[in-house]
Amino acid sequence: MSTIDNLLMEMNEGAISREVGLKHDDARNRYQLRSNVVTSYDEFTWTIGDYYNFHVSFVRGCGLMAQSDAQAKAKRIVEQAYRRNNGDISSAFRDASDSVNSGMRGILDKIAETLKFEDIEDYIKTVFDRYVQPASWEQKVEIIGQFIRKYGPVLSSLIDVNRPEQYAQNYQELIRSYMENLRKCSSAFRRL
């Protein structure tokens, strides 16, 4: 198999879920919440910190970090997740207090999804770096060359298979986009 085949094989959704995703889903699924609402901000931060600690130690197989560090990291994630909808940590606390928007469960889901997403990103970057050294122009040209020779004609007639240098700088973006579209296609096929 060529280098591009190996790289794509390591980046398909099955490999990503096997290598990274399932561990995170498993961690989320094993954490039992005894109450879906909290009664104070201290309880809220303690619970998200406890979950963060559990999730990370389960996925990485490492020991627990100090509760205060775990709380800080968990708060950062929750804050970021809520900021995407113009909210903040107070909005998260409100949700956790009255169980609106799935309450504490929804907040832990957000932490789990963020940790999973970050790990997947790290995995993809590592795979790229293993096949193509970020500083090597030649390797970039070679990998994108293999890619467009294999898929270029199928993707667009505008792609010039003889000038891989033109695309070498954006090789990651192109391959990721191809994989993402492949994922969407298979997802659509599964719905049929």
Binding site: E13, G14, S17, G21, L22, D25, D26, R28, N29, R30, Y31, Q32, L33, R34, S35, N36, V37, D42, W46, A66, Q67, S68, Y82, N85, N86, G87, D88, S90, S91, R94, D95, D98, S99, V100, N101, S102, G103, M104, R105, G106, L108, D109, R190, R191, L192
Partner: protein, 563 residues
């Protein structure tokens, strides 16, 4: 009647921090107050043993203030409660001995630890040893007030690796705070946020908050079953008495609490805990010579809702001793016969074909006669907060507590069993059980719901593929999708039932009147052409209008929640 009345020499052990002076500085050491119960002979009720001595004022305070609080709580659990005597000692003062210091416990800061150890001893509720408490019980009703040297105590707790939680008196601005110097108060206020880096810090202002944080629900349940206060079902105290609140906490809804705890432990695969709880419950029923109504049905449904992989654990079955089952069956009445068979099936894990569950009718909402109030009531009833509280919360809580060992399955059968088990959990938590349930009907209902939930995602086949390969989160994702679908359906049903209950009985004139009141209420916010519309024109579509209006209010509320 509290069975522990007959028992003696039960030990309660509560961790606290003692402070003594060395070279003019406060030195604090984590220690434990140990209390044993004794049969009361004569008037004296407090006995002190061990190397630490208690200052005479402290002894007087314990006798006059702490003992009555303990007695009053115990009297709520058993009106025939007989006063007990207590033997109190302090352990782990090795550090003090090494420094050649004679330790005398003075002041009131060990009040809460002594109270907890006494209750722990009498009620046989073990206390976590990684929780340290300090605080002064300042009234006969169990108000807790600040104590001195909090800073030294917190530092001692932080330095002790075995301590995880520190429970301290609330520093709310009240008169008691004036007894501390401003400098001292400032230090104490500073140390608490710093301590949160190392310890879980819990602030309490009365004994009810204290007890809720120190006695776990499971241990309270076991104590209630062992001490025969399981079925007291206390009422919340309208006067706000702290002692009544403690009684309420220890006794209210124990039946519900029992099933919740059995379920949580069963889902987590804590077979020992499940065994312990069920054994205690059955022994309790045997003592009372009573077979609990519907016990078999409830247990069988609970067992069926546990993931099959968890049920397959070696120690899961039998759920409790068969010997006890037969003992309890002596007390069955004619109407319990079928239930006793179901109970046997549940205990042994014979999750065979048919059993029946009684339907539980939904709660009725009072029909409002005053139109103005009814409009408000409808808007409240279908608001996002109400839907979250009444419909969403139990469903989300059920999902949040549902844990399992793997997120993928390896066969069709495993997939369908798991989906059915999870569906049953959702159904059980809503309290809206189908009239007749057997494994086949549950399975069919579960699949029908999964089909609806996966309508835009490729249907059941796609869900099954997801369950097998876990590309998007496997069973975790499927359960989340099912939860959202179930919640959506239950919320829609709730909204429909509220609207139907209010509007269906109304005559045409009343509907028009209703619409007019509603338009008057929202009038100032609406464009003039809508305000001027005749109420008769809108009355036919009133249910739809009120839903849209409520939805738009919810959107605004969601926006406000962000700030």
């Amino acid at each position: 009647m509290i069975m522990t009345n007959q028992k003696i020499n039960i030990t309660g052990r509560a961790a606290t921090v003692l402070v003594f002076k060395q070279d003019g500085n406060d030195k604090a050491v984590v220690s434990s107050v140990v209390v044993k119960t004794r049969r009361k002979r004569g008037k004296k009720r407090l006995f002190f043993t061990g190397q630490a001595s208690f200052d005479s004022n402290t002894v007087k305070h314990l006798d006059k203030n702490i003992l009555p609080v303990v007695d009053n709580i115990l009297r709520l659990l058993d009106p025939q409660y007989k006063q007990k005597a207590f033997e109190i000692s302090i352990v782990n003062l090795g550090v003090a001995s090494a420094l050649d210091l004679g330790v005398t416990v003075s002041g009131f800061s060990a009040d809460v630890a002594v109270l907890l150890a006494m209750l722990s001893a009498v009620l046989e509720i073990p206390l976590a040893q990684d929780v340290v408490t300090t605080g002064h019980i300042a009234s006969g009703d169990g108000d807790i007030r600040p104590v001195k040297s909090i800073e030294a105590k917190i530092k001692a707790a932080i330095e002790n690796p075995g301590i995880k939680t520190f429970i301290y008196p609330s520093f709310d601005p009240d008169i008691s705070k004036r007894t501390l110097s401003s400098e001292q108060t400032a230090d104490e206020m500073d140390i608490i946020p710093q301590a949160k880096k190392y310890l879980q810090m819990i602030e309490v202002s009365d004994i009810c908050q204290l007890i809720k944080n120190c006695f776990s629900c499971e241990n309270v349940l076991l104590a209630a079953l062992g001490g025969n206060f399981f079925e007291i079902n206390g009422e919340p105290d309208s006067n706000g008495s702290n002692i009544e609140k403690v009684g309420y906490f220890l006794t209210h809804c124990n039946e519900k609490r029992f099933w919740q705890n059995v379920e949580i432990n069963a889902l987590a695969g804590n077979c020992n805990k499940v065994w312990q709880l069920l054994q205690a419950r059955v022994k309790y029923q045997i003592c009372r010579k009573q077979y609990p109504a519907e016990f078999g049905r409830k247990l069988l449904q609970l067992v069926l809702s546990v993931p099959p992989s968890t049920r397959a654990t070696e120690d899961f079955f039998p759920l409790f001793e068969m010997k006890l089952y037969f003992e309890m069956c002596q007390f069955i009445q004619d109407e319990d016969c079928a239930d006793a068979i179901r109970l046997m099936d549940a205990i042994c894990g014979r999750l065979g074909p048919d059993y029946h569950a009684q339907s539980i009718a939904g709660q009725d909402m009072p029909v409002e006669t005053d139109i103005d109030a009814a409009v408000r009531a409808v808007l409240v009833e279908i608001s996002v907060e109400s839907l979250a509280q009444k419909v969403g919360l139990p469903i989300d809580a059920a999902r949040a507590a549902y844990v399992m060992k793997a997120v993928t399955v390896d066969s069709n059968t495993a997939f369908f069993e798991l989906v059915s088990a999870f569906y049953l959990t959702l159904v059980r938590h809503t309290g809206l059980e189908p009239a007749s349930v057997n494994e086949r009907t549950i399975g069919a209902e579960a699949l029908a719901m999964l089909e609806r939930a996966y309508k835009d995602k490729g249907g059941i086949d796609s869900a099954e593929t997801e369950g097998r390969n876990g590309f998007n989160g496997g069973m975790r994702f499927i359960f989340d999708v099912m939860t959202e679908q179930f919640k959506f359906e239950q919320q829609s049903k709730h909204i429909n039932s509220v609207l139907k209950r209010i509007f269906n009985p109304l005559k045409w004139n009343d509907r028009v009147k209703f619409t007019r009141v509603f338009l008057e209420q929202i009038g100032p916010q609406m464009p003039a052409d809508i305000c001027n519309m005749p109420a008769e024109k809108l009355a036919n579509h009133f249910e739809r209008i009120i839903q849209v209006y409520s939805k738009s209010l919810d959107n605004m509320k969601q926006l406000f929640r962000k700030f």
